[in-house]
Symmetry: C2
C-alpha cells in the first residue's frame, strides 16, 4: 500500500509499505477513506523539535473496518469509524476519567505500540489500530459518506475536538466573551465550538482574509487583525473596557501565549491547546495576581466525539469547512508545502 513518510525537515515522500495485518487479538485493520495534514505535522516538517528519523506520519483519519481481532467486541467489519489522534485502552483510570490522551497504554500513530509492533501513520491507505475497542468511534448509520460529511467527520479526529477542548477548558458558555488566538484549523474550530457552547461575543484574532471569512461563518462576532499591545487594546475596546472572560490559545508559540494571557481578564479562563513550541510559558506571578485559570492540553477526542458527532449528523455544525483544499494521497508532499506556505488552511488527503 501507499503511505506518507517524513524523512526529515521538508522531506515528505509517499512510498510503498506492507499492508497492515492483525497482530494482536484487540487490533482492527481500518481502510482509510480520508486523512489530512495537521498544523502539528508542520513542526517536524519545519525542523522544529527532535528529528526522529524517517517515519510514517499523520494522526487523523476516518475509514472502514476491514478486519478485527478475536477479542474486538464493539466493532464489526464494514463499520465506518473515526480514529482519535491517539490510541487509548478505554479501561485504565485515565480513560475512565475521560482523559484518554493520558491513557496508561497510550500509543501514537506512526510509532510502535506497547508490544513493539509498528503502527502505521494516518496518511496512508490503511492502518492497524491497537486497542481498537478503546480507540475507535463507530459512526452508526453511515457507510459511504459524501465529501462534505467525510470532511466533517474527519475533523472530529483532531481539530474540532481540539477546538472544543480549548473552549471547554476556557469555560466558554452562555453570556461569556471569548477571544480566539490562532486562525489555523484549530482556532477556527475553537470559534465554532465557542458559538456552539453559547458564547455571547467571539473575537477571532486573524490577519488572513480567507480565515476571517470562515471565522465569521463559524460564529465570530468580531475580527481583530492587530497583534501585541495593539491587539489587546482592540479587544478591550470591543468589550467595553474589559478583557475577555475566556481566551482560547490555539497556536503554541511564545507570542501566541503572551497574546492570550494579555487578552484574559482578571478572574478569566485561558484554554490552551497549541502544542507548546518555541518558548511558550505560564508566568506564575501573572496568573497569581490576575487570578487567571489555565487549562487545556491534548484534547481527549475520544471522549468528545459522541456529542460533537451528534451535532454533525444533525447538520448543526460543519467543521469540515476548514478543509479548503483536497488532494490525492500521492500529492502529500504538495499538501505539506501548501499548508506550510499558508496557501491552504487544511488539506484533506484522499487515498
Amino acid at each position: 500500500m501507499r503511505a506518507t513518510i517524513i524523512h526529515g525537515p521538508g522531506d515528505i515522500k509517499v512510498e510503498d509499505r506492507d499492508y497492515p495485518t492483525i497482530k494482536l487479538p484487540t487490533d482492527a485493520v481500518v481502510k482509510v477513506t480520508a486523512s489530512c495534514v495537521c498544523g502539528s505535522d508542520l513542526w517536524p516538517y519545519r525542523g522544529i523539535g527532535k528529528n526522529r528519523g524517517a517515519r510514517a506520519i499523520g494522526h487523523e483519519f476516518v475509514g472502514v473496518v476491514e478486519e478485527i481481532g478475536a477479542e474486538v467486541t464493539d466493532l464489526a467489519v464494514g463499520d465506518f469509524v473515526i480514529a482519535p489522534f491517539v490510541d487509548s485502552c478505554g479501561k485504565c483510570p485515565q480513560c475512565l476519567n475521560g482523559v484518554t490522551v493520558a491513557c496508561d497504554h497510550l500509543t501514537s500513530w506512526g510509532g510502535d505500540d506497547e508490544n513493539g509492533h509498528y503502527v502505521e501513520g494516518a496518511q496512508g491507505e490503511a492502518v492497524r489500530v491497537p486497542q481498537a475497542d478503546g480507540t475507535l468511534r463507530r459512526v452508526d448509520g453511515v457507510t459511504d459518506p459524501d465529501q462534505a460529511l467525510t470532511a466533517n467527520l474527519l475533523t472530529l479526529s483532531d481539530v474540532m475536538s481540539t477546538g472544543h477542548h480549548a473552549a471547554v477548558s476556557a469555560q466558554v458558555g452562555p453570556g461569556r466573551t471569548v477571544v480566539v488566538v490562532g486562525d489555523g484549523a484549530v482556532g477556527l474550530c475553537g470559534v465554532l465550538a465557542a458559538k456552539r457552547l453559547g458564547a455571547e461575543r467571539i473575537i477571532a484574532m486573524s490577519r488572513h482574509e480567507d480565515r476571517q471569512t470562515l471565522a465569521r461563518e463559524f460564529g465570530a462576532t468580531d475580527i481583530v487583525a492587530e497583534r501585541g499591545d495593539a491587539g489587546v487594546e482592540k479587544v478591550k475596546e470591543l468589550l467595553g473596557g474589559v478583557l475577555a472572560d475566556s481566551v482560547l490559545e490555539c497556536v503554541g508559540t511564545k507570542e501566541s501565549m503572551e497574546q492570550a494571557l494579555a487578552s484574559t481578564r482578571p478572574g478569566g479562563n485561558l484554554g490552551f491547546v497549541g502544542v507548546p513550541a518555541g518558548g511558550a510559558e505560564l508566568p506564575i506571578g501573572l496568573l497569581f495576581s490576575k487570578n487567571i485559570t489555565v487549562g487545556g492540553g491534548m484534547a481527549p477526542a475520544h471522549t468528545y466525539i459522541p456529542e460533537l458527532l451528534a451535532d454533525v449528523l444533525a447538520g448543526k455544525i460543519n467543521p469540515g469547512r476548514v478543509f479548503d483544499v483536497e488532494m490525492p494521497l500521492e500529492d502529500a508532499a504538495e499538501a505539506y508545502k501548501a499548508m506550510d506556505e499558508r496557501r491552504a488552511i487544511k488539506v484533506l488527503l484522499k487515498p
Copy 2:
C-alpha cells in the same frame, strides 16, 4: 496609638503612631479588636523579596467602625466589620466580576492609597479604611464577639477565604479526592473548605503532630507525612492507584508546587494560593501532557465572606481553631518569632 512596624528582616517593633482620621469622604476609621500574623508576613520577616524599608505591617483584622466619611452609605458607627486583606472599590468591572483582588483601585494595608494618603497596617489599634463601602463586610447582629467567634471572624479576612479559594480553584466538590499541600493556617483552612464543599477524601500532607490533629478535626481523612516521590506514592496508594482529582497548593515554594503538580491526576485541578516565592513554576509541557488545570492566586475574600460568614454564624465551621496562640499587640515581635520557629500555627494579636 500603638502599631506594628517592620524595620527589616527579623526586626519587628510596636511603636507610637498618630491615630487615623478620615481623609476622604469614602473612608471609615475602624478600631481594631483583633488582628494576626500571616504566613506571608514571614516573607519580609525572613528577608525574602524586596526590602521595602520601615513600614506598618499586617493585613488581617476585625473591629468596630468608629467614624465614617460623608459618602459612606453602607456602614454606620458601631458596626462590627471584617476587613478583607486588600481594599477594593466594589464598582469597577473586576469587583463586579467578584475579582476584588484585581480591583482597578486596589489599595494595600500599610501602603499609600490612590490619593497618596497613608493607610495603616492591620497589626495596630486602628486603621483608616479607604473605599470603606467597597472594602468592609458588616457582621449583622454582632457587636462584641467572644474569643472563639472573634477568631472565626478574623480568619475570613484572609486564611479561611484563601483556603476556600484554593478549594474552589481546585474544583473541589462532592465525590472528589483532595490533596492539601501545606499545613500552615491556609492549608488547614483548605482542608476545612474541602470538607465543607463535600470532598469524599481529603489527604493532608503534614509532618507536625499538632497540625495533623487539627487537620483531622477539620475533616482530613488521611495524613501523609512523606514528601517528594515518597509522598506522591503514598497518595497514589491511598487513592487506589490514581492521583488526586483536586490538589490545593498552600505554600508557594518551588518544592510545594512540584509536590502539588506531582500529586494531581491527569485531567485534575490544581488550586494554588501560596504567594509564589522561591522559584515556583508552572511547567507548560507537563500541564499540556497531563491536562492539569491550574487556577487560584489571591483570594477575593470580599466576595467569599458572605457565604463563609453564614456558616460561621450558624456554627457549621470553626476556622478560628487555627489560632493556637493569642498575644497582646505589644508582643508582636514574639508573635513573629513563634510563627517563624513554627512554635505557633497562627498568632492572634489583641490590641
